[in-house]
């Protein structure tokens, strides 16, 4: 056994530390690092054995000096172990990230969401605009009585205008008494009867006419109709409402005009046209002040209340918005068509 001195022990500690440090540096992976760490922490590891040998030093000062040296070496090794461990963890994550690489364009699958019919889309857009203008939405049956579809709308049994509607009648009840509504106007009467003025309502829905299908006509199509009944409603309110709707729905660059026309259920009656920014007038629909006879049919006193109504086709709106050439195409239910919108 050699002499124990501060110098000799210090040198030995330094040597052992250097050996441990170089061993740490040389580990290849986390498991060999863990094995080395266990080795270095063993009681009889080179550094740990210095702890017992320290007792052989004579002076307290010597012991303290060597002890400090030993602690420093031990913690230096611990830090090195930790750093090396982090290095391994980092490179492992880096490798995992590399392994997990994905080609996202492989994963870009076509959208699974379904497609709303363009007539529904148009209807909802119209509804939303009118809700914004303070209207509520009323609905009614598609199968109607002669009373609601004609008689209550100022078209008594022999009225010549009836022939213009090409009505589809049902084999139900008395001959020609039950029919498929030819317009959404019967809902006006239903609203008048069941709501109380003030009435600000729109009535979208499916209507039926005995028209042979062609590029612009279908026997089954859709209309939207508006009805306002309140005290003090005038023709100017009709024009103002049409103008607000035109700007809200088509854009602020559009304007509207009313020109005289004829409908049995309104008087004065008008056609309403909208003008595009390029100056072209487009015919949109019919409107007018609700005829006193119609108010009376709806149980409303025409001397107390007045009102206006307007209506137009929805299918044409959808057709023109999406530049569909033939309206029949909208009803083929061909997914190749439906999925475009």
């Amino acid at each position: 056994m050699s002499e124990y001195s501060v110098e000799s022990m210090s040198a030995a500690i330094e040597t052992a530390k250097e050996a441990a440090m170089s061993a740490i540096k040389n580990t290849a992976d986390l498991s060999s690092l863990r094995a080395l760490s266990a080795e270095l922490n063993k009681k009889d590891s080179p550094l740990n054995s210095f702890k017992s040998e320290m007792g052989n030093l004579s002076s307290v000062d010597d012991k303290r000096a060597v002890g400090q040296l030993l602690n420093a070496a031990t913690s230096e090794i611990a830090v090195a172990l930790e750093d090396r461990s982090i290095e391994f963890a980092d490179s492992e994550i880096a490798a995992r990230i590399e392994r997990e690489s994905l080609d996202l364009t492989e994963l870009l699958v076509s959208r699974r969401r379904g497609h709303s019919h363009i007539v529904t889309q148009a209807t909802q857009r119209l509804e939303d605009v009118f809700i914004g203008l303070g209207f509520q939405i009323a609905e009614g049956p598609e199968v109607e009585t002669d009373f609601y579809n004609f008689e209550a709308l100022n078209m008594p049994k022999s009225h010549p205008a009836r022939s213009e509607f090409d009505t589809m009648f049902l084999e139900y009840g008395e001959t020609n008494s039950i029919l498929l509504r030819t317009h959404t106007s019967p809902v006006q009467i239903r609203v008048m009867k069941s709501w109380k003025p003030p009435i600000y309502a729109i009535m979208p829905g499916r209507v039926f006419r005995r028209d042979t299908p062609d590029a612009t006509h279908m026997p089954v199509f859709h209309q939207i109709e508006g009805l306002v009944i309140d005290r003090g409603i005038t023709f100017a309110h009709l024009a103002g409402t049409i103008e607000s709707f035109t700007k809200a729905f088509f854009g602020s660059e559009f304007t509207s005009r009313l020109r005289p026309s004829f409908f049995p259920f309104t008087e004065p009656s008008a056609e309403f046209d909208i003008r595009r920014a390029d100056g072209e007038w487009i015919e949109l629909g019919g409107c007018g002040m609700v005829h006193p006879n119609v108010l009376t049919s709806g149980g409303i006193d025409p001397e107390e209340f007045s009102g206006f109504a307007f209506g137009f086709g929805i299918d044409r709106m959808a057709k023109e918005r999406h530049k569909v050439e033939d309206i029949r195409e909208m009803y083929t239910n061909d997914l190749r068509f439906l999925r475009q919108f």
């Binding site: 709303s116 084999e171 039950i178 306002v228 024009a239 026309s261 009656s269 061909d334």
Partner: protein
Amino acid sequence: MKILTSWLNDFGSFGDDHEKLAEAMTNLGLAVESTSIVDTPVKGVVVAKVLRTERHPDAEKVHRVYVDAGDGKELHVWCGAFNMKPGDLIPLATLGTVMPDGRVITPRGILGIESHGMLCSGTELGLTADSDGIMILPSGLKLGADLFGALKIVSDCVFDLDVTRNRPDCNGYLGVARDLGAHLGVKVSVPQGDKAKKGPARKIKVAIDDKKRCARYNMTVISGVVVGDSPNWIARRLSNSGMRPINNVVDASNLVMLELNQPTHAFDADKVNDGFRIRCARQGETLLTLDGQNRELELNDLLICDGKDSPIGLAGVMGGASTEIGANTKTVALETAWFESAGVARTATRLGLKSEASMRFERGVDPYGIDLAVSRFAALLRESCPNLVVHSAATDIKEKTLPPKQKIVALRSAQVVRILGAKLSTKAISTMLAKIGFITKSTSSSKVSNSAVLKIAVPSWRPDCETEIDIVEEIARHYGYQNLGKVMPQSTMHGRLSSIQQRRRDIRELVLSMGLSEAMPNPFLAPGDLIKSGLPEDNAIRLANPLVYEESVLRTSLRPGLLKAINFNLSHRASNILLFELGHVYPAGQQDSVEGLPAEYESLCLVGVGESSALALDWWSQLSAVMGFGAQIDQASVESGYHPKRSATLRRGKQVLGCVGEIDPRVLAHSQINVSVACLELNLSILLAETPRVAVAKPVSRFPRSDFDLAFSVPNSQSAGSVIKALRQAGGAELVDLALFDIYRGAGLPEDSRSLTFRLCLQAADRTLTDAEVTAIRQKCLDAAAKLGAKLRD
């Protein structure tokens, strides 16, 4: 109604600013459907005379025509029409002429022989609508003269007006001119009548049996008639109005009709036997009409008969062939009458005989315009018959049923303000109305209506104006719609979707997000479609007048339409066919008790091609989450048309909400669909009407939960649903979650059983459950399952 600018100017100085006139008519409610320029002269077309014609042995469809175009030289022209003879005057388009269709005339010949121009038909020159070969010109024109100059044809503008039902007067020039004159401040004059002295009295006996249907009948005898072509200007006006010139008598009648909206009918007086009688038809009577058709008459048809009671005309609709004007007609018996509109409409509609005359009687003619019409007819006919004699003592019967010359309608000035929003003085109203012949008879004030009351005399040519609101409309038209202003009403209402509408939109949104696209099949089915879809058809409602037989049954379900859509898309090899429809159906044999209408409800149907019930159930569970309530899955009763072993009825209490499952393979076979189809069908009228409860917050438990799994061997006869129900009951309040997460069939299990594994989660709101409590609940669950024959697996 076609309005020629040149003709309109006969009624007043309207000028020829087409745009201004079109705008004025539009503002008055006379919608201009189209505007076209007609009779535009074609430069280079001259008058030529046919010298001789010659066939060529090698040309079958054309011949050679030699003409003189005024310079005495013989020009050779190939021609495909054969209607000319030597001496005829014809239009020759000289070389270099640009025809209205853009063709340029070149010497391009046939068989190597050149053509020195082209002989023209009226159609080619834009002068007639239909063509009977080369136009033969009236004699006396100067050879080589410009054709259009020689015929005095100048270009004209034609407005095609859409005359609405409430303006019968505007089916004649006079009505249009009156409205326009009032609007533009142009003085309007009526056309010239016949000025010649009346001839000796000739009276024809007329008896009117049906005084309601025929309230005025004028029968005037006109002799000295020479039937022939009309003067050129009359023929041109008729052609440009879309009417074919026939002969001077018929043309004069048509011209008067266009001018005054008063149809007249000219009988050949020598062919009429012993006067006239106007009566309704008798059963079994027939009439050969002018168009050569033998018409079977009905009791309601009003007839013009001769004095021997034989029918010679359908009143207001069409004349009979036996008394037709012919080449040898010398004397005309001119009928100018007022027939009741509804009657004419009925007969014309029934016989499909909508003539220019019947249309006018249907809409309404001026019962007091008859005298002018007779006189105008004579004036026009006199142009081609200088020796015409209008005999005096014409028959003119006016029945008491004739509408009055003036109708008095009361108008409250306050009503004008109330409806139009424009404050107009009574004077302004009177002045405005006077311009269109509505005369204010008196003005008084009424305390009741707090308004001035004007008594307005409505002229006889406006039968549509009967009530106050009709007058208000006249004021609006002539005041100008654009002058009434645009004001948004001050609504006290708030716009919003109703709960039903909001829920319908939520459902649509969910269905779209589940990947289904919206179809809109035809709601009309072919007979047999319902049966093919496994549905009864006996009580389905049928259309009384379907367009086609294949679209004559109202759908009772959305399924048949969607099956057709599936079939269509499969035939186009579409993939991922997921469709839905939201629409009304009309269940067979049910009645809405209140109004006597057949029952009708809103249905939603979702279909998935190549999919199973699992998907349909997934749709339902998502929809029920959005709806806020569930339903019992009742497999014991399955609606026909669904797979009997893979479908269920969705019940909620006594109500049937719909069906879920797959389409019956037999239905698929009928529809030529060779893959399974998942289907969910719901009665939205029930679903949407329910208002879901608003959830009340419960505190979330702060105590730990105990989870455990139970795997049972369950006989196939016992549904998983019944086991779930039993476990739920046994678990009580502490069973906060229960999920069936594994189903296994196969080895280790009895033949008629499957393994169902559930995960149960126990938790109390107020404490940590003890082991003993968990064990006790677990045992309760096991006991309950055992009662259903479910055995715990190891």
